[in-house]
């Protein structure tokens, strides 16, 4: 009796996930390759909508990648040393700083964007360039990088490794390069994948910060939903999926290897 109840509950949960997550996603992607969505799949399959998306929105796709990679660069350069410093200090001040860095997760993206606009909107060259969006993305994704790198720092006895390298004569920069970064690699990799994925999919902030000339892929998506025929919007979704799914899969595969650098296959 109990087994049947458990089975029923599991089945219901699986059905719910399928109904609200998988089916809509598949239908949406399918719509992107359907000749006429209102007549359904029997109207035939086509790649013409995908091609049209490619012709209409190539700039948004390239810009999204540019911003995602630039965001990654910024979070690596700022986030990894920051995580190292926060880990080494580990006092009240460093914990406060960690909380402050994490704040953008709690604040709605729109509010964050508004604050950026109020503060820096007056610098019109900056405001008009993609760097403005980059600033928003960096603020939003930094905590993910810092947190995942700090998690690895916490799991390995990094302080001893650092002192060990120092005792052998290595200066701080050399220790950071030879010992700290290689041993924090799992956290850096996990953080990087997360930052790129989040940046590619970010909409709230970007929608507020973009100009007609600095649209990203998700903003373009919203634009196509509002102004194009449904098949084009769906084809656009398909393009987005094709870009983001490999990253998500990589993140999942990678999550299996967490547990220190020694667990990584070589």
């Amino acid at each position: 009796m109990r087994d049947r109840l458990t089975f029923a509950a599991q089945f219901a949960f699986t059905a719910l996930v399928a109904a609200f997550l998988i089916v809509p996603a598949v239908l949406s992607m399918l719509a992107g390759v359907t000749l006429n969505y209102f007549r359904g799949i029997q109207s035939g399959l086509t790649l013409q909508w995908v091609v049209q998306v490619w012709q209409l929105y190539p700039d948004t796709i390239f810009r999204s990648f540019l911003i995602a990679l630039a965001t990654l660069a910024v979070t690596l350069v700022v986030g990894v040393p920051a995580a190292y410093a926060l880990h080494l200090r580990n006092d009240r001040l460093s914990r406060t700083i960690e909380e402050v860095i994490t704040l953008p997760l709690a604040i709605p993206g729109l509010a964050l964007a508004l604050a950026l606009l109020l503060t820096y909107g007056g610098f019109s060259d900056f405001r008009r360039s993609w760097l403005f969006i980059l600033a928003g993305h960096a603020v939003f994704t930094l905590p993910f990088m810092v947190r995942s790198v700090m998690a690895v720092f916490g799991a390995t006895d990094l302080k001893s490794l650092d002192e060990g390298a120092a005792s052998l004569g290595a200066l701080p920069w050399r220790r950071f390069r030879d010992v700290i970064v290689p041993n924090a690699a799992p956290g850096i990799l996990a953080g990087s994948l997360m930052v790129v994925t989040l940046s590619l999919g970010e909409f709230n902030l970007t929608w507020m910060l973009h100009t007609p000339l600095t649209k990203t892929l998700p903003v373009g998506l919203a634009d196509s939903y509002a102004s194009m025929r449904l098949e084009i919007a769906s084809a656009y979704t398909l393009v987005f999926f094709v870009m983001i799914i490999p990253l998500l899969v990589a993140m999942q595969i990678f999550a299996g290897y967490r547990g220190g650098p020694t667990a990584l296959p070589r």
Binding site: E163, G164, A166, S167, L168, A170, N183, T262
Partner: protein, 361 residues
Amino acid sequence: MSLQESGNSNGHGVAVRIENCAKTFSDGTHALGPVTLDVARGETLVLLGPSGCGKTTLLRIIAGLEMPDPGGRVSFNKTEVTHVPIERRNVGMVFQSYALFPNMNVAENIGYGLKIRGVNGAERSVRVAELVALTGIEGLEHRRIDQLSGGQRQRVALARAVAVRPSVLLLDEPLTALDAALRERLRGELNRLLRTLGITTVYVTHDQSEAMVLGDRIVVMRKGAIAQIGTPRDIYFAPANRFVAEFIGAANIIDAAYNGGSLLFPGGKLAASLDSTTTKDRVLVMIRPESIRIVATEGAGLCGQIETVSFVGDRQRASIGGVAAKPIMVDVPNSIPLKLGDRVGLAIDPSAVRLLPPDPV
């Protein structure tokens, strides 16, 4: 760099001087001293004490990982290094956790200090091979650190620390992470290795047998202060106070009445050649269990009853009641049969009785 040159002319390291070094951490913990201490060139000095006695803090001050409170001075061969960071002190350090780099293999770990010093690849591999042979880890050069056993890691850590020909070798409880049998074997190896290298060494441990085997001199520490400095024999046979006597080996500490060259116990009288200037009528004395012999009751100055016997293997330890206020521990050869409840006599050589300073009130 002058330190390196002056320190390594004959590979025996530097003389280390620590003056007035105290350490109070930022959270207010008073961990150490002020302590003044000399380590002779080529000497192995062991810092021994229970956890929290300040021994590791003192080692880290010598290493340059901690800065002593203002007023403290550390010098290597009379050159002050108090403000020189660890990476410029040319020390070799073995950490309790070994701190081997997981991203490098055994040979890369051992050669890292040489690489930092700009030694070229060919020269480096010669030196690494030398140390691999010296520490007996041939065949493991290309292993990853997580493929090594605890004992192998310990050897790699030692090889890495020694590879750079340090001015002073610092070891922080290097055997603590190992199981008892391995610890004893490596202790012997380490002893041989330190004698071979003849380098100035400061060794931190809480294990008195390790201290005895390895130390030219032992510094017994307690609550951030030095309780006694001396050779293992000094420390064992002539402890400066009750703490040292009890921390090193087993000791009967007895508060007894003293009258004209004899200690008066409830269980009889014992002649003792205490310091002739002792005029007190109550004294605190120490007698090691192995310096007491069990004899027949007839004619024995001290008599008591066997209360417990523990067979240890190479000997047995009996506790004899009715002699003093507390039972007296006696080490007896394992061939002598002992029966609980038997009355026995105790023979103690007068010179085996050590006078201790009275406990602070």
